[in-house]
Symmetry: C2
């Protein structure tokens, strides 16, 4: 994909040897001028040092750079870990020529190990020297851990006649679960927008993108989504919701693209399943039902085995807490209806559904016939490779 | 194990060919005289036909027999499934020489398929003809689905100088999760006991046994625990809590034995982990923390990989909802302390913990340092075989 870089941004990534590996693992994103910043972070009460640091910094509403490393998460590292975040931010500020209070820091990788600060100090000059608009591709690779592909999405829109670009990078393949700003995602845009409005749009759009995906029900200590908006598109500053609808839609699409890329690249995943619940008493019940189905180990192993095992889906619905009458439920895979009024449809529906499960992307439609509530969750299957990857991750 | 059968009970099991298989799959347990009955059932709102049927029958407080089949769960089978339960109960009542209202029915296996009633009618005479005290061993095998071993536990106690026997059978290896009377368990005893007291003791003891185990976080449509007490030990009838303490303890031990056997035989399990949380704000917080750790896919795959990955444990605690300060947590595997005050203990603790993870049974101690609350959950690891078993279960 040829990237359409928002004006005034550059990036670079290098091999810093974190955890002794020889791969891109340290990245830097810089705005030439101070940018408006918005962020959402993990709700896990165990927060990595960079999350605690960024959360404070984002409150100021302004930033110029994001320093990101993979390999070590700098989580559960105590006061020493927090001191290392400050040191790294100061080093990056130095090479960028800004104040440490304008440098955000993000880390992903193994929890509990300490960073070797020399990996950062030895490579900071090289990192800064290579800053260029084309560098975003390198950063998208430097963020990867168990990811198998880099994750990039972009949009270009017109705001009051001005061209505005939105470019997003994300990483994530395990420890992925709804109700979190899941894993790392960085979005840069040259839109001019007020800080409070950017934060509000980001929070809304995360709820319907990153907060609607699950891979394994586990949530991270490092989840971070950051947006930098430097205003270089020179549009009249967006200050109110209705005027910002076009920008909000573009940002939402980028976030949803990235969220779906994360599910598609889920650890060991062979399939992506869209769990679409309709007819719930309300949207909350629909979300609850969809989430429990999307996280059920038995449902996810059945999808891996291409087994149209609707009994497991109904059993998961039954423990979800959603209110419905089991004897009124309809379940369909794609256009094949398997269950009507809570019991199996006669004929060859299950055989047709099983054939349908050979593809990589599947729509699972559930109608609870209890109201007008609706929700969708996106999940992956639970495969042999998921277990292999996570039994061996650190060794 | 040589079984010590409570007086006045007999049992038998046969190969009925349910789902076309050639294995023990139909069992019958009979008390010579009417017995007091108590039962607890799944809280899943999708309930199999025999669960709905038994729940009503248990309210009468009396029963004489339990008919159990494996292969097909008779769940999500609508009105036809319920009619089949009544037919099966009537057939069993006929051969036993009792009323259909005194025959309980339990099924386990695939959800959504219909029973072939001829499997029952063709084998009912053979089933009754072979009834004998030694038959409990056969029934424990006929109940198995993905179980690899039958699960039996027994105790003998003195109640007012009378010998009282308690014998329990259980099945279960998948769709196992706390907050349920998990899967099938049948307990027979010759104790004389009032129905309300038996029900009360059963409910209490299930809470600290079956409701504290998890294999995959999924819960069944068929979970059933039944106790038949026929009074043939001729002890003075137990009517009050304090007099029944010895009996309650014995029943509790049998239930806990069976619950731990289920975890040990968890689908694909190579290890059993006892998650012991102390120092929580209260017992509820402790239970919440222990349950989230015990169900985390990332924690369970790490145990499979013999990886002392305490970061995943801390991350799971952090999303559990339990209230604690991450910087005060202590985590130990057996007698090896890995984490103190939320960060790694220096030295070779992790290497020693990794060696400790080679064994089949592991104590995981977590101290939240926030209060006096405590709880324990028992879980299995998440292995390659779990995925294989569940991707292939119906094929």
């Amino acid at each position: 994909m040829s990237l359409d870089i928002p004006k005034g941004f550059s990036a670079n990534a290098v091999r810093a040897g974190i955890r002794g590996r020889n791969r891109l693992d340290l990245g830097l994103i810089v705005s030439d001028t101070p940018a408006v910043v918005a962020g959402v972070f993990t709700r896990n009460i165990v927060k990595a040092a960079p999350v605690v640091y960024d959360r404070d910094l984002v409150k100021s509403g302004r930033a110029r750079a994001i320093l990101v490393n993979s390999g070590i998460a700098n989580a559960c590292t105590g006061a020493a870990g927090m001191e290392q975040v400050r040191t790294c931010a100061a080093m990056a500020a130095d090479v960028v020529g800004t104040d440490a209070a304008e440098v955000l820091v993000a880390s992903t990788g193994v929890i509990g190990e300490s960073l070797d600060i020399s990996c950062f100090s030895n490579h900071m000059d090289e990192l800064a020297a290579g800053l260029a608009p084309e560098g975003f591709d390198l950063v998208s690779r430097a963020m990867m851990t168990t990811d198998t592909v880099p994750k990039v999405s972009q949009r270009r829109i017109l705001v009051n006649g001005c061209e505005v670009r939105v470019l997003g990078l994300a990483k994530g393949a395990g420890m992925i679960h709804p109700d979190m700003a899941t894993m790392l995602a960085f979005i840069v845009t040259d839109a001019a927008i007020a800080p409070a409005l950017l934060q509000q749009i980001l929070r809304n759009k995360v709820d319907t993108s990153f907060n609607r995906i699950t891979i394994d029900g586990d949530t991270s200590t490092n989840d971070t989504v950051l947006v930098l908006a430097n205003g270089r598109a020179a549009n009249p500053e967006l200050r109110h919701g209705e005027k910002a609808a076009g920008f909000a839609a573009a940002l939402g699409e980028v976030l949803e693209d990235l969220a779906l890329m994360i599910v598609r690249d889920g650890e060991g995943a062979t399939k992506m399943i869209h769990v679409r619940v309709n007819g719930a008493v309300d949207d909350l019940d629909a979300a609850r039902a969809a989430m429990v189905v999307a996280t059920s180990s038995l449902v996810k192993t059945a999808f891996f085995g291409a087994d149209a095992n609707w009994g497991r889906i109904l059993a998961a619905l039954g423990r979800s807490g959603a209110r419905f009458d089991p004897e009124k439920v309809t379940i369909s895979f794609g256009d094949v209806t398997l269950v009507e009024n809570g019991t199996a449809v006669d004929g060859d529906a299950e055989a047709r559904a099983t054939r349908l499960l050979q593809v990589r992307e599947i729509d699972l439609f559930i109608d609870l016939a209890a109201g007008a509530g609706a929700a969708v969750y996106h999940t992956s299957d639970l495969s042999l490779d998921y277990v292999k990857i996570n039994a061996d991750y650190r060794t």
